[in-house]
């Protein structure tokens, strides 16, 4: 009962602190909204300038028109046209501010014609090699007349094909040096070119890549962010918030005032833990709610998820109480909290998959409790796979025990 009274008081005192509420709730929400919108709302289109010089009697060739509309339909580009007559380097100087990234695709003169000629030659070559293959494989079963007429036709075709010498049909893509998006843009153009190459020789795709995931539901980027952000901010609330709170409680005499009552040290720690757990659940509810409402994230919290939130909140709260108890100076305590929390936040993969980081950083990430926390939350909430969160349960559980014991040991109820 007494512990509950203290919890209510701690909670009231906290909820009335504008700074506390801002950093614990508003800040995470704002970050989720910003990052979720930047990375989660589907890829944006890359703007690209296109100059079509492939004109036949003053109007664009059929192939060039088809190519541009294929680019438009790919969903990757938003296309703006440059008049065919201008010279590209002076146009760029004139129209693109320096240090701004740009992409310009030039379809050269006679692109369609060259491509068609090349296509015919390639088709001929394919027919020749197909005939070779047929003769090689089935020649012994054919009667001699058939075989001879095939051989004659082949040499006639061979003569004709060798006679055609088309020029290469080349597209030119200008990008700014050091433009991070250049690679994506060039791959996208390549794949359209590939499709055209296939259709020019009437080939059908033999191999296709289909994007799919192993889970039944489709995952959105925000499905990664919601558990990641929830975990990260439960961590900061404990490691930054509580560390400085506990230090502050000592400085302004609250610790002594409470210690002078018959309340035990365990009640004090328990009340702080309960307060943080309540905050953690409030934050979790807000994050999941916003994720669903704005980004359409999936996932329903189950008992395993709830247990993990409880464990995580307990662990980071105990770390906060321990650090706040160790560091007497309030400013130093707050700095130490930041020092622990920020690297953990960015290196543990709470905000982005650790796979995109160098291997050494991946190893470091796996030494951080936050890694196991957000992984566990993702496994239980998004993937519905509590078995995958087993390591998280073990790591967070063991660390919680260690740090709660440490918090009890470090907190001074009676001066020596």
């Amino acid at each position: 009962m007494k512990t509950l009274h203290l919890t209510v008081v701690l909670f009231k005192n906290w909820i009335r602190s504008r700074m506390g509420v801002f950093f614990s709730f508003l800040f995470p929400v704002v970050l989720l909204l910003i990052f979720g919108s930047v990375f989660g709302g589907g890829a944006g289109r890359y703007s690209i300038w296109v100059q079509n010089r492939d004109l036949e009697n003053g109007s664009p060739s059929d192939l060039s028109i088809a190519f541009i509309s294929a680019m438009e339909n790919s969903g990757v580009f938003s296309i703006k046209m440059i008049p065919p007559s201008v010279e590209i380097s002076s146009w760029v100087k004139e129209h693109i501010p320096s240090f701004t990234s740009y992409r310009v695709l030039v379809i050269p003169e006679n692109f369609g014609k060259k491509a068609a000629e090349k296509g015919i030659k390639v088709r001929g070559m394919i027919i020749l090699s197909s005939l070779d293959l047929i003769v090689e494989t089935y020649g012994e079963y054919m009667d001699e007349n058939n075989l001879r007429s095939i051989q004659e036709g082949k040499s006639a075709l061979e003569n004709w094909v060798t006679g055609i010498t088309p020029e290469e049909a080349t597209l030119i893509l200008y990008v700014q040096e050091g433009d991070a998006s250049a690679q994506v843009v060039s791959s996208a153009v390549q794949s359209i070119v590939q499709a055209f190459n296939n259709s020019l020789i009437s080939a059908q795709s033999v191999i296709e890549v289909k994007f799919t995931t192993l889970s039944e539901r489709t995952l959105k980027p925000a499905d990664y962010y919601v558990p990641g952000y929830t975990a990260a901010f439960i961590m900061t609330n404990g490691v930054i918030g509580l560390t400085s709170n506990i230090s502050e409680f000592r400085r302004n005499g609250i610790l002594k005032r409470v210690a002078a009552t018959p309340l035990s040290k365990k009640s004090w720690i328990l009340a702080n833990l309960i307060t943080q757990v309540i905050l953690a659940f409030l934050l979790t509810i807000i994050m999941i709610f916003l994720g669903r409402l704005i980004f359409g994230t999936s996932g329903t919290p189950d008992i395993f998820f709830i247990c993990l939130v409880l464990l995580g909140a307990t662990l980071f709260c105990a770390i906060g109480i321990t650090m706040g108890g160790l560091i007497k100076d309030v400013e130093a305590a707050s700095a130490a909290g930041n020092l622990v929390a920020f690297p953990m936040m960015f290196l543990s993969g709470a905000f982005w998959p650790i796979e995109i980081m160098p291997e050494i950083l991946q190893t470091i990430a796996k030494c951080m409790p936050l890694y196991y926390f957000h992984q566990g939350l993702r496994q239980t909430l998004i993937l519905g796979n509590p078995a995958g969160a087993l390591t998280s349960f073990v790591v967070l559980g063991a660390l919680s025990v260690v740090f709660v014991l440490l918090a009890v040991k470090i907190t001074k109820w009676k001066e020596i």
Binding site: M1, K2, N252
Partner: protein, 304 residues
């Protein structure tokens, strides 16, 4: 015979190499205001915090309500009220919420509005603690100490850092508590506070108690007496006739008197005859000067 509520015998407290308390002994009786007076660093707060079970003694015997403090911390804490030095509490809770918090912790049915009334906080009860003035904050601290219905209340330097007005008001509050039969243990470095409030006082210096006695007895024994001094020859002759005892020092003659009335009479007589006498009453300042060989300034520092 008055009942002892606190018994301290040979209390020693050592911080590393520093001896904060070297064998302190005193008793506190039910219903009195007991004051521990001394400069900063003399060992006042160390003593109070040991009594409040917030600090472990190195050695010695301390009994509160006849119970040894060791092993009875919770029982003792249930029965005492505490205003810690440089008191602070939840800044964003109102005055009333802070007081109710303590009442709830002690699981006591307390008339909170009565406490608010007693301390003159009734009209401020909805204000946040963090917004209050220094004097008001101390009053909230005392209210919180009272919220446990204590038998003894410990006030560790309750008026330090307050302006004279706020100090006077707080003295009145403490006097009212005394009238209600509360036992009060108070530490201070203000001699005026001892004179204004205390029944008995212990003078503490460098972890040792110089003397413990009733304030009245201390002042009459060591307060320097009622005296009138004069340097004019005509005056000296008159003083020699009326004074109990005559002392000559620094070209001044001082006569001592039995009572304030005798002193006043001599002073007025000399003044009426166109002379310029000086008059001094015994005080705790003099007591401290005589026993400790120095005085304590406003900041609590000892000046030798």
């Amino acid at each position: 015979m008055r009942r002892k509520v606190i018994e301290v015998r040979n209390l020693v407290k050592r911080y590393g190499n520093i001896l904060a308390l070297s064998g302190v002994s005193f008793d506190v009786y039910r219903g009195e205001i007991f004051t521990m007076v001394g400069p900063n660093g003399a060992g006042k707060t160390t003593t109070v915090e040991i009594l409040e079970c917030l600090r472990n003694p190195t050695s010695g015997n301390v009994k509160i309500f006849g119970m040894d403090i060791e092993g009875h911390e919770e029982e003792i804490k249930q029965r005492i009220g505490v205003l810690p030095q440089e008191f602070g509490t939840f800044e964003r809770l109102t005055v009333e919420e802070n007081i109710r918090f303590i009442a709830k912790i002690y699981e006591r049915r307390v008339d909170v509005s009565n406490i608010l009334q007693t301390l003159g906080l009734l009209e401020h009860r909805k204000r946040k603690f963090g917004e209050l003035s220094g004097g008001m904050k101390r009053r909230v601290g005392i209210a919180m100490a009272l919220a446990s219905c204590p038998e003894i209340i410990f006030l560790d330097e309750p008026t330090t850092g307050l302006d004279p007005q706020a100090r006077q008001e707080l003295w009145q509050t403490i006097k009212n508590l005394r009238k209600k039969g509360m036992t009060i243990f108070l530490t201070t470095h203000y001699m005026e506070e001892v004179e204004a409030l205390a029944d008995r006082a212990a003078l503490i210096l460098n972890g040792k108690i110089l003397i413990t006695d009733s304030v009245r007895s201390l002042i009459s024994k060591y307060g320097g007496g009622f005296r009138v001094s004069i340097s004019e020859k005509r005056g000296i002759r008159i003083l020699r006739k009326v004074g109990e005892k005559i002392v000559q020092q620094d070209g001044k003659t001082t006569a001592f008197f039995k009572s304030r009335e005798d002193m006043l009479e001599a002073f007025l007589y000399l003044s009426r005859h166109g002379l310029k006498p000086e008059m001094k009453e015994p005080s705790m300042n003099e007591v401290f000067l005589n026993l400790a060989g120095g005085r304590i300034n406003e900041h609590g520092e000892l000046i030798q």
